[in-house]
């Protein structure tokens, strides 16, 4: 399966390599560098590159390429999914997954990689089991380790690997028992020039933070489970029960995890929470262009739209802009031609707008493309699809846990064409 892994930074240096079978020479990455040169953008490097003797499968996360070397047939998604799992694990352990973080924790990184794959086949990828094997580094532990010479490697043997619920470790104890669930929905939409919706879908997840003693068995029920017709679950969820009763029944992993993610795609269910009025024009012959943009709330169920950020890639011909925001700040990078406007909160009484002129390259003809506008926002205390949790019950343990649920809506890939 996976033969070797190389980590390549944005300047094209291999800063870490790990081999699970016999050693593969670094020079195999030359094919990758070639492809990297050919690609105009970093994300345009093809994920699968064939070379005479190997296949390179890479993912790009946090401006680091994780390049896996494969020697024979294996489903590419298998490798890609695994590489992403590696990145997630690093992020989980070190907080960030940057070159510096990896270099600082090189020992832990090697220990992790060694446990995650055996002879190229995934062995322990559950973060819960890994954390039992290798303790995540914390500042305190680093200090203690340097003084006492003790280690990150867990002294106990990882019993989780053997249990029927591999995702949960045994003997969990908390003084405060609590279970929090965050329903987070992201709305992806394309709005066309005239303001009508071309496509809109909601991608939702329920992230949980469960700190409960012992082996609790939870059930979570929804007011409107019918919304969830396209879902994927954490392995802990009992699928049969969901099929039969539309109730989520599970023994939760300890700590943070993603319980389920769902997808609402039918148009009528998706309400677009903001609208944009825009007028971006370039006139033939003049070196000036007009730029007007106004944002307003729409169908937000009374909740405020916050943390609004507008960004747009202006055409290459634009030299500079001279704009006036009614609120927030805007920046324009004349090199990358990226305009971004940090709006903040939308006040329905006084709608934020950005107006002014753009100066174009003199003599050049008017750009024929109009920029698209990307919008980010957050709406607290509301899930756009209307999903509501009904109740959470716990069985199997005697104590009363503290329960909490939070809803949030965010913009995902929200684009307005002009």
């Amino acid at each position: 399966m996976i033969h070797s892994l190389f980590l390549v930074n944005s300047s094209g240096d291999i800063f870490l390599e790990k081999h699970w079978k016999s050693v593969v020479s670094r020079s195999v990455c030359d094919y990758f560098f070639e492809a990297q040169e050919r690609a105009s953008e970093p994300e345009n490097v093809p994920p699968v590159i064939p070379t005479p003797h190997h296949y390179l499968i890479s993912v790009l996360r946090h401006r680091i390429y994780f390049v896996a070397v494969i020697q024979s047939e294996v489903p590419p998604l298998f490798v890609i999914e695994f590489l992403h799992r590696v990145v997630d694990t690093f992020q989980d352990y070190f907080g960030v997954c940057t070159e510096a973080a990896i270099k600082d924790n090189v020992v832990v990184v090697y220990e992790l990689l060694e446990e995650m794959l055996d002879n190229g086949f995934p062995l322990a990828t559950e973060s819960n089991i890994l954390k039992e094997l290798i303790k995540p580094p914390t500042i305190l532990r680093t200090v203690v380790n340097t003084i006492t010479g003790s280690t990150n490697v867990g002294e106990q043997l990882p019993t989780g690997q053997l249990s029927v619920v591999p995702w949960r470790r045994t003997g969990v104890k908390y003084t405060n028992n609590e279970a929090y669930f965050d329903v987070v929905e992201e709305i992806d939409a394309i709005i066309d020039k005239s303001g009508s919706t071309i496509t809109a879908e909601i991608q939702g997840v329920i992230d949980a933070c469960v700190k409960l003693t012992g082996m609790p068995d939870l059930t979570l029920s929804f007011m409107n489970p019918r919304l969830l017709d396209d879902v994927s679950f954490h392995p802990c969820v009992r699928f049969k029960r969901w099929e039969a009763e539309r109730i989520l029944s599970f023994i939760p992993p300890d700590g943070n995890f993603r319980l389920l993610s769902y997808h609402v795609s039918s148009q009528n269910l998706v309400a677009i929470p903001v609208y944009v009025k825009h007028n971006i024009t370039f006139r033939e012959g003049s070196s000036q262009g007009r730029f007007e943009l106004t944002l307003g709330p729409k169908q937000t169920m009374g909740k405020g739209v916050e943390a609004v950020l507008v960004s747009s890639q202006l055409p290459r011909g634009v030299l500079n802009t001279n704009l006036n925001p009614t609120q927030g700040t805007y920046t324009f990078d004349p090199v990358t031609k990226l305009l971004s406007w940090d709006v903040g909160k939308i006040n329905p009484q006084k709608l934020p707008s950005l107006k002014g002129s753009m100066s174009l390259q003199a003599g050049a003809s008017k750009p024929d493309e109009n920029p698209t506008i990307n919008i980010q926002f957050k709406i607290q205390q509301s899930a756009l699809s209307g999903l509501k949790v009904n109740r959470l019950d716990m069985y199997g343990e005697k104590y009363k846990p503290f329960k909490g649920i939070k809803y949030m809506t965010k913009a995902g890939k929200f684009q307005v064409r002009t």
Binding site: V23, Q71, E73, L77, V107, N152, D230, R316, D368
Partner: protein, 950 residues
């Protein structure tokens, strides 16, 4: 020096040194020493280091082997597993035999986790030494029969790497794999699903066979001719049903695996379910999107309807990477049909305005394909493309020209104005491909533009020398065509162009010029061909078909690397075509096995390829049953003769058993000498394994002599006449509600496990109704004790008697084995307590051996008692009879008639038991028992005393 450096480093520095692994191979000896280090982290890093550098420093790596061998015997399963894991990762050929044995042993370990590790080790060993394939297949076969989810994924992975062609190994495990699938860890699921896809293709019939080729939508719609009713194999259905929930997995690879399974195996009407899941994956990371879109592109050609409802999910965002945009375009184009083309074209219009020029070019190509596929929109598309010709971006224009050329070829008559328009473009467009296309168009349809064509040629002749090669070729082409149709105006121009071409640098162009000159310019020498020049040049050319690059990619298994690259990758297993007629489905039937199979002990013999050759014991006792049944039917009531018959048959079968036992014993000896590990009798090879590892873990790890160590395996003998067996009651007729059960210690060796005592159990049904499904359940045993249940008795008719044999490992103690005896209605708590004499088995010894062994078992191990023999038993014969009845011992030949000697060994631990009875005058005698186990000795003395004095 290096060692000093190493020792002086602090622990933390060492960690870093090992982890970095930079040029660290010269430190190898110093590092390997730390393999026995107490610090777990250092230990683990040493493992990492060892595995990395072992190949380069083979001799030194061997130093560490003994540590792992010790680990293999650790009582903690996790340590056993990790020792096996590291041992098998050391790529040094000389330890192959050690690895092989370790894997075999681990494959029958009690712990599923260790068995999983064994499955992981198989491909490692295989890559190190492919010659071990046959042995490894046996281990794989055994592990495939494992019933735990932990093992399933890993063993299928090993199967795929070592012997993917041995599809026959799957038959028996097919249903089990299907049922376990949902609980297997996600990576294992992917491997199993891919393997089962291939399996299903060889074993089941095509569910879509009634739909002709199933290629084009039109033929599908019209020609549904039912040849014969198709009925899906229930196993096929099982696979589809059990994989469907996995579409909900969070792991994209699992979802993709299920999707390809449905695409390749499901009836057409059911394939649709995968679309939703695949569309959901599109929200994932761009690499995942890339792979999923490639597969969707292939699927959407074959099954367009499936993705049509999700058309809008494939709309392109300006922030998508180019490679994703291009793939989405591909899917959109495949999905286009008469009803949705207008929306798709509107979408395309926005795309054309994009900043990303590669993407724009791809969009134009896509428009061209839509136009060729859907006749209704051809004109609209063409007009749109023509408008693009006035685009400022040259690339866009060039791409449009190329596409327009292809479109025009379909119906040139109506579009002479477009051709005229394009002719004008030659002044501006510089992209060679576009220029070449325009020239070709004008040449091809010169009769539609008779006035412009010569003028274009004139302009081209002027710039000929500065053109690119493909353009030059097209200029020559144009000249030739014009010469043939309009020689009056263009004769000189053609000559001029041909002359220029004659001295061109490119030999292709020179050749072409020469060839054309001969063909079209009539000279005296010109051959017969020139008559046909017009036909050659102006023949009607078929319009090009614009095809998706993803067409016919589905002959590769979807989701595979080969499919993605559209080229066969190494190790790719071809997805076979459906068979014409389904192979025999009964191969997948699994016989209901004895429940003992679930408790994986060392009984490995029973896993034959068909499951039929179960262990000999089971079989012979089965035969017993049949025989006794047959015999008892005609003469119910004559219980005496019946039991006689029964015993006869029993001893018959046991004789044959002995023979085979002896045979295999010899085999083992042979094996020991030749070091070959072909195993015909796994139980015994395992036994060697145990012995071997007992020896191997001495520091002299490489000393292969251990294989020659003598084995304390005795040749079992049955001497006790069956009539002497004492029967005990297990269940009384009244408490058992008509079912009475008796047992006796048959004193036969229990062949599935030599460490067990064979207990013969006889069921008599004296009730009026029949008893069903008699079996053992819920054994409550002291630690270390084990039970091997008898095969379930399905029916015991009223008045009948049946006997079976079960094995119990009492661990050399007289503690009772408690278990439940179940019928279909009741459960009875019963217990079997062995007399101490049944815990041993006879061995043969010579007198000298006896004396020697006795000499070694003196002191505490010797118990002597004086006794007075009973009157009746003062003869030698009587003594022998009474002693052998009390204990399962065999007589040792003895010179004196005053002394009787007996020898045996305990069943579980194999400790020697030596008994001697010396008779004196007046019935006085002295009994001596020598036994390593003092408790056994004391109890045995008591029992024999009782037997002799009463």
């Amino acid at each position: 020096m290096l060692r000093l450096v190493w020792l002086h480093k602090t622990e933390n520095e060492r960690r870093v040194m090992i982890a970095r692994g930079k040029n660290a191979s010269d430190l190898f000896p110093a590092v390997v020493k730390n393999v026995a280090c107490k610090n777990i982290e250092v230990k683990k890093l040493v493992y990492v280091y060892l595995v990395r550098y072992a190949e380069e420093q083979q001799d030194l790596a061997l130093l560490s082997i003994s540590t792992f061998q010790r680990g293999l015997k650790d009582p903690n399963q996790l340590i056993r597993a990790s020792a096996l894991r590291v041992l098998s990762s050391i790529r040094v050929t000389i330890i192959v035999p050690i690895m092989m044995l370790a894997i075999k042993e681990a494959a029958s370990d009690m712990s599923p986790y260790v068995r999983k590790t064994a499955a992981h080790a198989i491909p490692k060993l295989y890559s190190l030494d492919p010659e071990q394939k046959d042995c490894l297949i046996e281990v794989i076969e055994k592990l495939l029969a494992d019933k735990t989810t932990l093992v399933a994924g890993s063993v299928v992975m090993a199967f795929e790497e070592v012997c993917p062609e041995r599809i026959d190994l799957i038959h028996k495990n097919y249903r089990k794999l299907c049922n376990l699938l949902i609980d297997v860890e996600e990576w294992g699921q992917v491997v199993i699903i891919n393997m089962l896809t291939r399996y299903a293709r060889t074993q089941f019939l095509n569910p879509n066979m009634n739909e002709g080729g199933g290629e084009k939508k039109k033929t599908e719609a019209t020609a549904i001719v039912r040849r014969k009713p198709y009925v899906m194999d229930p196993d096929h259905r099982l696979l589809l049903r059990n994989t469907k929930p996995l579409l909900q997995s969070r792991n994209a690879a699992v979802v993709m695996a299920v999707a390809q399974l449905y695409f390749h195996l499901a009836p057409k009407a059911e394939v649709g379910v995968i679309a939703k899941a695949l569309v959901r994956l599109m929200r994932s990371h761009s690499e995942v999107q890339y792979v999923v879109l490639q597969n969707v592109a292939t699927m959407s050609i074959k099954r367009r309807g499936m993705f049509e409802p999700y058309l809008k999910s494939f709309y392109i965002r300006s922030t998508d990477p180019t490679q994703i945009k291009v793939l989405k375009l591909e899917v959109l184009t495949n999905l286009a049909n008469e009803t949705n083309i207008s929306t798709i074209l509107r979408e395309f219009q926005t795309y054309i305005k994009s900043n990303d020029k590669d993407f724009v070019a791809a969009t134009i190509q896509a428009i061209g394909r839509c136009a060729t596929n859907i006749g209704e929109v051809r004109d609209t598309c063409l007009n749109g493309l023509v408008q693009l010709l006035s685009n400022r971006d040259e690339l866009v224009v060039a791409e449009s020209v190329v596409v327009i050329k292809k479109l025009l070829q379909m119906q040139p008559e109506q579009h002479s104005d477009i051709i005229k328009h394009m002719a004008k473009l030659t002044d501006n467009i510089q992209v060679p491909m576009a220029r070449a296309s325009i020239l070709w168009l004008i040449g091809e349809y010169c009769e539609h533009v008779p006035k412009i064509a010569p003028d274009v040629l004139r302009k081209m002749a002027k710039t000929f020398t500065n053109e690119e090669d493909i353009v030059k070729l097209q200029i020559i082409n144009l000249a030739a065509k014009l010469y043939l149709t309009n020689s009056k105006q263009t004769k000189l121009l053609t000559q001029y162009v041909l002359n220029l071409a004659k001295y061109d640098q490119n030999y292709d162009i020179r050749d072409r010029a020469r060839f054309i000159r001969q063909l079209i310019v009539p000279t005296d020498k010109s051959g017969a061909l020139s008559k046909y020049a017009k036909k050659l040049f102006l023949a009607l050319k078929p319009a090009p078909v614009l095809e998706s690059p993803f067409k016919d990619r589905d002959h590769f298994q979807l989701g595979s690397l080969s499919h993605l690259l559209n080229a066969k990758a190494g190790g790719y297993q071809v997805l076979p075509d459906w068979p014409e007629a389904a192979p025999d489905p009964s191969v997948r039937n699994v016989e209901v096995k004895e429940s003992v199979r679930a408790v994986e002990t060392v009984t490995a013999r029973d896993r034959g390829p068909l499951g039929a050759p179960q262990n000999q014991r089971g079989q012979s006792s089965g035969e017993d049953e049949k025989k006794s049944e047959k015999k008892s039917k005609p003469r119910i009531g004559s219980s005496e003769s019946e039991s006689e018959e029964d015993n006869d048959s029993e001893s018959e079968s046991s004789e044959s058993e002995e023979e085979s036992e002896e045979e295999s014993e010899e085999e083992i000896k042979k094996k020991k000498k030749t070091h070959t590990h072909t195993q015909r009798d796994k139980t015994h090879t395992f036994y060697i394994g145990v012995q071997m590892f007992a020896t191997i873990c001495k520091p002299a790890w490489l000393n292969m002599q251990f294989l020659l160590n003598p084995l304390p395996v005795s040749v079992p003998q049955t001497i006790v006449p069956s009539g002497n067996l004492k029967t005990y009651e297990l269940l009384h007729r009244i408490t058992g509600e008509g079912l009475s059960v008796e047992y006796c210690f048959s004193r036969q060796p229990f062949s599935p496990d030599p460490h067990m005592v064979a207990v013969k159990i006889q069921f008599t049904n004296s009730a009026t109704s029949e008893a069903k499904s008699l079996h053992v359940e819920d054994a409550k045993l002291q630690s270390g004790m084990r039970i091997k249940e008898f095969p379930e008795i399905e029916v015991l008719p009223a008045g009948e008697t049946v006997s079976v044999v079960m094995g119990i490992d009492f661990c050399d103690s007289t503690q009772a084995a408690n278990f439940q005896l179940c019928t279909h209605t009741r459960k009875f708590f019963v217990s079997i307590q062995p007399p101490v004499g049944e815990l041993m088995m006879p061995i043969f010894m010579t007198e000298n051996e006896f004396k020697k062994e006795q000499g070694q078992l003196m002191g505490m191990n010797e118990i002597t008692e004086k006794l007075t023999l009973e009157e009746k038993c003062q003869g030698e014969h009587a003594i022998v009879q009474r002693v052998t009845t009390a204990a399962n011992l065999s007589r040792v030949p003895c010179g004196s008639d005053k002394e009787c000697r007996f020898a045996g060994k305990t069943v579980t631990s194999g400790s020697l038991v030596l008994v001697s009875v010396v008779t004196k005058e007046n019935g006085a005698a002295q009994l001596t028992v020598n036994c390593e186990k003092m408790v056994i000795g004391t109890m045995l003395v008591k029992d024999i005393l009782q037997a002799l004095t009463q």
